[in-house]
Amino acid sequence: MIIGMTDHEDDHEVVTVADLRKSYGGRVVVDGLSFGVGAGEVVGLIGANGAGKTTTVECIQGLRRPDSGTVRVLGLDPTRDAERLRALMGSQLQDSALPDRLRVGEAIELFATARAQPADELLAQFGLAARRRSAFGSLSGGERQRLFLVLALLNRPRLVILDELTQGLDPSARRGVWAAIDQLRAAGTTVLLVTHELDEAEALCNRVIAMRAGRVLDAGTPAELVARHAPWVRIAFTRPGNDGGLLDALRALPGAFEATRAGDQVEAVGERRLIAHVGAELVRRGSIPADLRVEVADLESALLALLDDGHAGVPTPATPVPTPTTSLIGATR
């Protein structure tokens, strides 16, 4: 059983990485990494800069030869069977380009194999239909990213590897790309996503693998990681003046870590169940604040906790609560 895989996924493995090691000039970048990606999964590799994510996917793509360990992709060895395998993979790479004077339509012709799907639909879907005759050098950063995505999907790949998928895209283009990945998932295509954008990982991935220093820190669904490493909420509202012992009442609620007041602002922090208890307490007091806000920890909070040696995962009354980055109830999966 490989870390990061569930039991049933062993049967339909698309990517298997076992004890992968890779160094550059004595600097260890990937250090005994093991994980798997099941068929039809969208799996995200997340972690800080230098965690070894890109090197790992380059080994999976056969662009780098591992120092040791095993990598199997669709049952093939990415180094030995590189050419066969790459025909089955679609890759969107970090830091790559096309010749400046190559036009979008010509890039499609260049990269289209016998497996290629009609490019017009893909170009339209990614907002590039009108740019068919534009030279690569004249495209904006976002258009280039979208073109790379089109090229990655063009030949109906079985496995799509996306490194920094939405880097440089505006919010609208980002959402469009996310929708496309959702469609890939619905069509049963396996996707391995490398990203620093944790909202992206949270929105797209069935499972995420958190890495640090070339190792797996933890893996699971985004909701599982949040539950394990950032299982807290912050409830805030305005309550002026004398509150009749409200702070003490909030502190005594099940799951509460802390309740504080700053002027008229009241804040309670605790486990998720605290949301219900605070609501009940406010209803019992017959005064529901108009500005009641609930902030739920998200994947970013979980990753920050993980990267902080696992010590900042669960805030208690004695430890400061990390600032949450999401302010919508149910934003975490």
């Binding site: 339909h12 039809g40 050419e83 004077r101």
Partner: protein, 281 residues
């Protein structure tokens, strides 16, 4: 941005396809039947030729340097047959010789810089990740290199004809064989250099460092008869010297250097095999 179009699913994904998913690999209703795809080599050649036409400045050195230097050097020794030039017209000696300067300029300068710039920008990485095989890439670059040589060689002869005249061929078969083998040899060297060196700047430095001594000693400089002993012994085994002698001597009818021609052919085969096996994408 519309998101209503369904991306075609991967044909035969590992594991079960979701219930209700479109038939794997099925073309969308109403879509034109898939065209037969060109080979990877053909697609690369087509793209590179388009880029070459669109950006002819990449050919500047290969086109301009041999022509300009041929005009200067070819006129420096007159047109009377001279002992130092194996009793041939020196101007025509240089016209025949400078065809191989085109070959060396393509292989040692143009291709390395062009391909190293591709590496630097991540174009080669993208081609590798897309599954372009190394041999497809090398063969495509070979075609591009040979096309450049044909173009620049023709330009050289067109310029030379009204000025110095183009010498008549004494042994066309041998000349053609030497030109082809020499071109394959230098283009293969250029592909290797371009895919191994890390940047366009380093490729330019290394390429020029290899080109100019080869040019001066092996093709465009003084004839071997007037070189000093040391210079001649250094020049003799240089690949460009071998190619030039294999082209020039049968062209002008001053010799049939079979051993040099066979060496060039052997080196060309070796260099091409080595490029196919070792070129890095």
């Amino acid at each position: 941005m519309t998101t209503t179009t369904l991306i075609s699913p991967a044909p035969g994904p590992v594991g079960a396809a979701p219930v209700g998913a479109a038939p794997v690999g099925a073309a969308p209703v109403g879509a034109a039947p898939p065209r037969r795809a060109r080979s990877a080599t053909a697609r690369l050649v087509r793209a590179e030729l388009r880029l070459m036409v669109r950006d002819p400045l990449t050919l500047t050195f290969v086109l301009a340097f041999p022509v300009i230097t041929m005009l200067i050097i070819g006129g420096s020794f007159g047109t009377r047959p001279d002992e130092s030039f194996s009793d041939t017209n020196p101007a025509r000696w240089y016209v025949a010789s400078y065809l191989t300067v085109v070959i060396a300029a393509t292989g040692l300068v143009m291709l390395p810089v062009h391909l190293a710039a591709y590496r630097e920008r991540g174009v080669l990485r993208r081609l590798a990740a897309a599954g372009f095989a190394r041999h497809s890439f090398v063969l495509a670059q070979l075609v591009i290199g040979l096309a450049s040589i044909v173009l620049a060689g023709a330009a050289l002869l067109v310029v030379a004809a009204p000025v110095y005249g183009v010498p008549s061929l004494h042994s066309g078969g041998r000349v053609a064989a030497a030109l082809v083998a020499g071109s394959v040899l230098f283009v293969s060297i250029g592909i290797l250099l371009g895919t191994v060196l890390p940047s366009a700047r380093s490729a330019q430095a290394v390429g020029l460092l290899l080109f100019f001594p080869s040019f001066l000693l092996g093709a465009g400089g003084p004839p071997p008869h007037v070189m000093g002993t040391v210079a001649r012994s250094i020049a003799k085994p240089l690949p460009l010297t071998l190619v030039t002698k294999s082209v020039r001597d049968p062209w002008l009818g001053i010799g049939t250097p079979t051993s040099q021609l066979l060496t060039v052919v052997g080196l060309a085969v070796l260099a091409l095999v080595f490029a196919i096996r070792r070129a890095r994408l």
